[in-house]
């Protein structure tokens, strides 16, 4: 067991012929992920990475390959369209890596997929990794080993840092999920925490948050009232000034809320051990 992706995942890559899409398709195949097809409008009938069929539309790809998960690498201006397309073609789980999608597009996407009962991870996220089974996204496969720790994070490279620190001391992950740094996304901390709580392979959880919004505060309440498994937390941005976007569109302290101090306090009040820096996380999990 694991959450969201495993060795039975049948993955479709939207934007498979772009440089990012193709590069990461190869990486995912090398890891052992079942990549069953790709979509690039106008290039249907061709092949990517020698033996992956390319289709003109997600609908055709799903009919032919039985794909049950899709990953999106298309540029920001076309990405919302790609999410709508995947949802309309009946894909139940969509992962969007693309960075820089307008918030207005994402609000329409989110309200649409919620009506359809489709789950979206991202956008502006590194995807997810179930070590030893499937890599759906861009998390480097060699920095993680299988284990019993579930990881959920708003940041990409910061997640790699944590996986790497865990591997150094022989700790591994059940599934690692990057939910992305955008203000309006498909899946939040609580969604993933709930899945980890129900996953028999996950015994402990690491939650990595950052400044901006109130997701971590809500997660703290969820942890306090609904969770039995221990959670270790980390919040990036303790030195960030107010009113400035720290790279991620969602990472901004505004109107006096969203600061790291508030989030850390909320988590500690919920019984979460909060690390002062990423490399302290393994010792707090012991």
């Amino acid at each position: 067991m694991s959450i969201l992706v495993n060795k039975n995942t049948r993955l479709l890559v939207q934007g498979i012929t772009g440089s990012e899409g193709l590069f990461h398709t190869k990486q995912m195949v090398a890891y052992g992920t079942q990549v069953v097809g790709g979509v690039t409008p106008g290039k249907g009938g061709g092949w990517a990475n020698e033996n992956i069929p390319i289709f003109d539309s997600v609908k055709m790809a799903v009919e032919t390959t039985g794909a049950n998960t899709s990953i999106i690498f298309v540029p920001a201006r076309f990405a919302a369209d790609s999410i709508f397309e995947a949802a309309d073609a009946g894909i139940p789980f969509i992962v969007c890596i693309t960075e820089g999608i307008p918030v207005s597009d994402m609000m329409r996407v989110r309200n649409y997929i919620d009506q359809k009962g489709v789950r979206l991870l991202g956008p502006n996220c590194p995807g997810l990794l179930t070590p030893g089974e499937a890599k759906v996204g861009i998390i480097p496969g060699d920095i993680a080993i299988p284990g019993n720790i579930g990881i959920v994070s708003r940041s990409g490279t910061l997640t790699y840092e944590v996986l790497y620190a865990l591997k150094q001391v022989g700790m591994g992950s059940s599934t690692t999920v990057g939910i992305g740094g955008d203000p309006v996304n498909g899946t939040n901390h609580i969604d993933i925490l709930r899945m980890f709580e129900d996953d028999p392979k996950t015994d402990k959880i690491v939650m990595i948050g950052e400044i901006g919004g109130s997701d971590e505060e809500k997660a703290a309440e969820f942890i306090a009232t609904k969770m039995t498994k221990p959670v270790v937390g980390f919040i990036a941005g303790q030195t960030a000034p107010a009113g400035k976007r720290m790279g991620h569109a969602g990472a901004i302290i505004e109107g006096g809320s969203g600061s790291a101090a508030d989030k850390i306090r909320a988590l500690e009040n919920a019984g979460v051990k909060v690390a002062r820096h990423p490399e302290e996380i393994p010792s707090l999990l012991r």
Binding site: I101, V103, R110, S155, K244, G247, G255, P278
Partner: protein, 380 residues
């Protein structure tokens, strides 16, 4: 990006929202001429991208063209919260019976646009939220459906607007909704929306924030960007697709990934240092980008040491190392540099940097502690 009041109001006007007669001026004589054309009392309003212009003396009512010229001269020579006033808006003065607040913004928690209205207009909405939160009426709109007439009536009633104004208010709200949508605004705000003594609804002041991610759809707006409030280094960084924010410390930071960049700043502080900047070189950073980033960091005379923390994923360690070497050759930095490379092609990267006379570190904590020591001159 933020739009100026005059830019926002011009957009509102195109969508059928009534604004005062007036024009923008860059010189006092232009302001005088506009005041002559308008006749009567005029308001001279500084156009800077900060709040609190009135309190700072940046908004004045002139009774005649000569006074308009005199006030424009004063205001055009001012700095408000550190920003120079380059333009003034000269508007005909309105006689105000009531001031209303009306704004539409993104509610990230609800994943929907939210309309906010209040009968306590004319002051900043954050202030109303603190002192009289019950005076703000909020309504979420499904972005797939858009605003409906009944919702506009709901809001009008919610702020106790006299019924005679409901139709006019509804048209203004629907116009503002279209502005918010068409321009991918993060905020479209009329404050105050006034009921004049002759019973018209007029947008006296306007504010718009545009989502930077949507600017590919609005090339005409990118050209209107006012960069006065950005540090020169931030403007330079934007050219290279780098996200850079200047801070007050003395340790320059170059990191890939926003979350890791923030965590690296935090750990510097934890180790007794102060970061000089936030810098995310992004995924797949090229040697050229890295060199530009180093130039930008070193343009700050406060910088006494640089910390490089690169976790290779999409970004390759050897590519970053080549960028660092190119930058060193070009910029010839005199400050000590601490480098930590992990992940994809890190071994190759470290080999490239072996002869570059840099301080190396294995862990993030070690790198931060060495950077702090280097900035104090204790490590070279």
């Amino acid at each position: 990006m933020k739009l100026h009041e005059y830019q926002s109001k011009q957009i509102f006007s195109k969508y059928g929202i009534k604004i005062p007669k007036g024009r923008v001026a860059s010189t006092a004589s232009e302001a005088k001429q506009i005041a002559e054309e308008l006749g009567g009392n005029v308001v001279i309003k500084s156009q800077v991208l900060v709040g609190g212009r009135g309190k700072a003396g940046g908004i004045k009512v002139a009774k005649n063209p000569d006074e308009a010229e005199q006030f424009a001269t004063q205001i055009l020579g001012m700095e408000i919260k550190g920003l120079p006033v380059r333009k003034v808006l000269v508007d005909e003065a309105a006689s105000i019976a009531q001031e209303i607040y009306l704004g539409i913004t993104n509610d990230r928690a609800a994943k929907k646009p939210v309309i906010m209205a209040s009968s306590a207009g004319g002051v900043e909405i954050e202030e109303v939220a603190k002192t009289n939160p019950e005076k703000i009426y909020k309504l979420h709109v499904n972005p797939l459906v858009g605003i409906k007439d009944y919702q506009a009536r709901d809001i009008a009633g919610g702020i106790n607007l006299p019924r005679e104004h409901w139709n006019a208010f509804s048209e203004i709200l629907k116009g503002l909704w279209r502005v918010y949508n068409d321009y991918d605004a993060e905020l479209a705000e009329i404050n105050p929306l006034v009921i004049t003594s002759d019973n018209h609804l007029v947008a006296l002041d306007g504010k718009m924030l545009i989502d930077d991610n949507s600017l590919f759809r609005h090339p005409e707006l990118s050209e209107m960007r006012d960069t006065d409030e950005d540090a020169p280094s931030e403007i330079e960084a934007r050219k290279f697709g780098l996200t850079f924010i200047k801070l007050d410390g003395n340790i320059g930071c170059m990191v890939n990934g926003a979350g890791l960049a923030m965590a690296s700043m935090d750990i510097l502080k934890l180790s007794g240092g102060e970061p000089a900047n936030f810098l995310d070189i992004g995924g797949g950073a090229s040697a050229e980008k890295v060199a530009a980033a180093m130039r930008i960091i070193l343009s700050d005379p406060n910088v006494k040491a640089i910390l490089f923390n690169i976790f290779g994923g999409i970004t390759r360690g050897d590519e970053v190392a080549r960028g660092i070497l190119a930058a060193i050759a070009e910029v010839k930095p005199k400050v000590p540099m601490v480098v930590r490379l992990v992940g994809t092609n890190a071994t190759e990267g470290r080999a490239l940097l072996a002869n570059a006379n840099m301080i190396t570190a294995e862990t993030l904590l070690e790198a931060a502690q060495k950077a702090v020591a280097a900035a104090k001159g204790e490590l070279k």
